[in-house]
Subunit: 349 residues, 4 copies
């Protein structure tokens, strides 16, 4: 009953099988393995981007920070939502990798930047000549940190503003597959066709062990990215073990199947929560993550029975008035089954 | 017939089995898995260091760069051998992670710093007040990049100089096990008992998938290291897959067994090479890596038959006078068998 | 009629005389001149801080960035007001010198942090373990960028919160003298007695050529600051020309006299503005700087007659409806005379 | 009798007069003063480079570090002579401003890189793909730190190698005028006509207070330089006081006159030293700086009579056998007169 994080889930068996298969014999190190050629080609096909740079790293933070460092100058602002992972959960990795770019926080409901807020933030930046930081890339998170998804039109509205100012756009796709499934679109639709320049394509949360690919649509940026990856100590020596995960993740659309599973499980959980008296969903859950308020008593029952998930704030005590509404985050990884959902709901009710 | 790198070798089956086992069910992310507790305790036992900080990352470069950043100020010199991995093969990662510390190159035969050269380098640094960089940590590589091993006395002679000047010492142990087996000593003997403050304890090259632990003997440095690891994007979310490798690597002294195997294979290869007319070993191979000169014709025969290894310089052409002596590096990973060695030797003869 | 900036004003004749006197003969470079000893001693007396580190640099941005880098770790938040110079006007210098600390913006009326907002910002930071940036120093600006001054009680309320969380406090005193004169207190009252740890003590805006001293009350931080200054290329070789300015600035309380002059001139200007129909002061001006709204027609008359000052936004056109209220900033440097004020007011009326 | 450094000398009276004149009235800050326009135009004329970017900073270290940061990527090597100021005397400022580029030391007699050594260093760098640092700019010092001067042919031989590899060349001209006078060539001859891309044009050591201009021949690099200067806290607010120094320094070729004076004084000193028994010049002095060995007794007499200069090593005791030869550096600033030289020689004899 672990609903704490999609990072708490296991690898899908097919990813594990791929690891086992990849372990056979020797392979040249540092990305020169034969598997990577195939995985790269496959991901280019998925993105309908035959020239794109495709590189792997072992954490989503590395994918984000390296992608941003490739697109932002040290004296740039990076525009992101106030709740972005790069702002809240990476201990300043973007600042470290960019040598001090300034994360500039943009508001908007449900974890999504509003076009007005983005435009205002851009206009308020870079109007002081050499005295202020300069306008740099926009970073969007899809699905957002609040479990919502930008529609394609919403994405386009934001990247249009970026383009109007000549700025690049990064997409933090730690839950890329979940968002794509929710929208029912293609990977190209959700990225370069919507004006995105560089993508952190995450697989770790969705059934892999550690699979984060960076997809750079402008091949001229690729070599700089490679140097930054190596210098950031993110080029794995036995790289085949990353390559094989990506290969397995893409094969037979496993990535979409797993995202579908976790989104569906989450929708079931949401339906159940809505029926609990006093419960309130804080955002409409588009993917596999719910933010809700529930009575303290419900949390207490669930947690004492072994359920794991985070309250907000983290350290909210379980002892106290049972009817107090306390916020929580519930995440369904790909492996959640109907009975897991039922079990949790039974406790929360 | 891949003798290019120990990074070209596979995982040992026991490591793979551990991965399979660890995939069962859910685990809390970011190092809070139950496996890590056990692996940390085991490594502390190995090092006879019950208070040591033990942290995992996925590359040796990350282990080195983060360890050095924890011990070096940005304005410090880091003293290392001219052939050190941190100088030659990390694309400036130590400079990046330390925010610009200066690698100061120390000479010495066979890839080992001489005490005289170290003392001279230290004395030539830090004698200019605020104008010059300051004296910072010493970084030793054990086994060295040239396949040799410092004796315990040699290590001690260097760390004594470090201590005389109040400087810390880092040990790059990408081939730690191979060196320990070669010396027949304990991990404690080769580290804190010899004056070492922080160790990059590598397992990747020796039968793991990606297993690099940093062992910090001063627990007061541990929290800073943790912050640097996260900020460097090197804290893995599904951390259990690192933990389980370390656990399996240490269990039943697998690490020592595998190092013994690769050292033994290499010794057999060295004996064979010595019998080839015109061949010359450039250093006495103490571990699993040989630098040798061989006639171009020998290289040509071997490579055309599919042998993989690096010539020096990398791009030396195979076409040319057959008797020219051309340097090469031959590395035996743990999986090399007698017949692999025999096959290569047969081609080189 | 230049009211654009106190940086537009000249040196006071006594500072110039000091430069002339200091030019006599030779002096040891890099701060080892005999004048610096005297200037340092005098500034320590002024601050009643006989052990304080006192160092000079040539820009206020350098003073701020180096002071903050000495007190903030790269992974720290630096809490500052949304309008702080370090946030808005230094092109990311604090981020550069700290290697990527995160400026965290605190609200509050009239350019002053409110204690509630500071506490909320601190609480919202550093509650995520290794995942978020950590709590770092607070940076206050006195006088503020909006021309207001924290009372001693207001300062104390903020530094009390800092101390409650174990955080240091920096004071950006680009207009230190103006604030001190406005409060009628001592330099010690406004700094270490009010809980401040490190001060950027500015003289450039107040009659010097380039005179920015950093005063560090904890002498243990001094050596690190010296290294950072040199490494930041801010240790001047012919340092006597900085030393002599500081010496002259402090002699006979010239600094307080000049601040008194510019505050008085500004108060006169404020009184005059209040009598202009349609004019509105946006904040109560405590020192030598006014933010006001005036009809476009008034601006047009003044500027066409040669007055220089900034409109907000910078690029507001002078052509347009004459009655539109347009914001502006008016700064009185020490050299402004009654007739300068009268002349400007006559045009604005 | 201060022969310690050209930084120990005063401003020339004409520079001081210019400061006095510039103090009249108000001027727009941050380089927007009217004087800078004129000074920039004049320096462009001097360099016969009508499009060049010309910017001022207050230290030579800032000029060097900012120029190098504009031309080197963080993952680049910067090739410099082993004795370069950027390597030995800037506390790692180039590493700080470039975010960790690697200074790669090139040998050569008399403080000058040899073409062979430069070529070897370049070839030994950048041949490891992504694993090693990449080839970056060359930094030459003219006059060198050992008081010698590259001939135009020698410069050309080095920049030809740089161009062969597509690398830029920086000239550290802290003693630019002294070198130019020694060569009897034009500023253009010694820079862009000899293949130089960016120059640190120093005036501080040669009669100014603090006058360091960066001349960038490629105007496309200028904006990046401006941002780096501001972010490095090196854009002075009351910039007119820099501008006016440069204006005065260039007017009527004052810069060349002063360099001629100091070179001549130094030549006289060299002639005198050669006549001292036991004295030995370590390099042929081309400009205003001598490295020599003299008997300890001579040093003792001179220093006890008040002469100031540096022994090598710095802390060599004056007590000891009088006949021991001890190295020293003697620098003549522009203000040294015949009687100063005679006085020193009389003591040393």
């Amino acid at each position: 009953m672990n609903f704490a994080s999609d990072n708490a889930g296991p690898m899908h068996p097919k990813v594990l099988e791929a690891l086992i298969a990849a372990n056979d014999g020797t392979q040249m190190p540092y990305g020169n393995d034969t598997i990577m050629q195939d995985a790269r080609a496959h991901l280019r096909d998925v993105f309908e981007a035959p020239e794109a740079g495709v590189y792997m790293v072992s954490t989503g933070t590395a994918a984000n920070a390296l992608a941003l460092a490739t697109y932002a100058k040290p004296w740039d602002a990076i525009f992101c939502h106030r709740t972005a992972h790069i702002e809240e959960d990476e201990c300043g990795a973007p600042e470290f990798f960019t040598n001090g770019a300034k994360l500039t926080l943009v508001d908007g409901a449900d974890g999504k930047m509003s076009p007005e807020a983005l435009r205002d933030s851009i206009l308020a930046t870079g109007d002081k000549g050499v005295h202020g930081v300069q306008r740099g890339p926009i970073s969007l998170t899809q699905a957002t940190e609040l479990g919502t998804v930008y529609t394609l039109n919403e994405l386009k509205a934001l990247t249009d503003i970026a383009k109007e100012f000549g700025l690049a756009t990064h997409l933090d796709g730690a839950r890329f597959a979940n968002a794509q499934v929710a929208l029912g679109c293609s990977a190209a639709d959700m990225t370069w066709k919507a004006g995105i320049d560089v993508v952190s394509f995450g697989g770790t949360k969705n059934g892999c062990m550690m699979t984060e690919a960076v997809v750079i649509f402008d091949p001229e940026k690729a070599w700089e990215f490679e140097l930054r990856r190596k210098r950031g100590a993110h080029l794995l020596s036995k790289h085949r073990y990353l390559s094989t995960q990506l290969q397995a993740y893409l094969a037979d659309d496993l990535w979409l199947t797993l995202a579908e599973q976790s989104n569906t499980a989450c929708a079931k959980l949401a339906r159940g929560l809505r029926q609990i008296e006093g419960a309130k969903l804080l955002h409409e859950p588009d993917v596999n993550m719910i933010f809700a308020e529930l009575p303290r008593g419900a949390h207490k029952r669930a947690m004492q029975a072994g359920a794991k998930y985070y309250l907000s704030p983290f350290d909210t005590p379980l002892d106290g008035p049972e009817d107090d509404l306390i916020a929580c985050r519930l995440v369904c990884d790909w492996s959640k089954k109907d009975e897991d959902i039922d079990q949790l709901l039974a406790l929360l009710r």
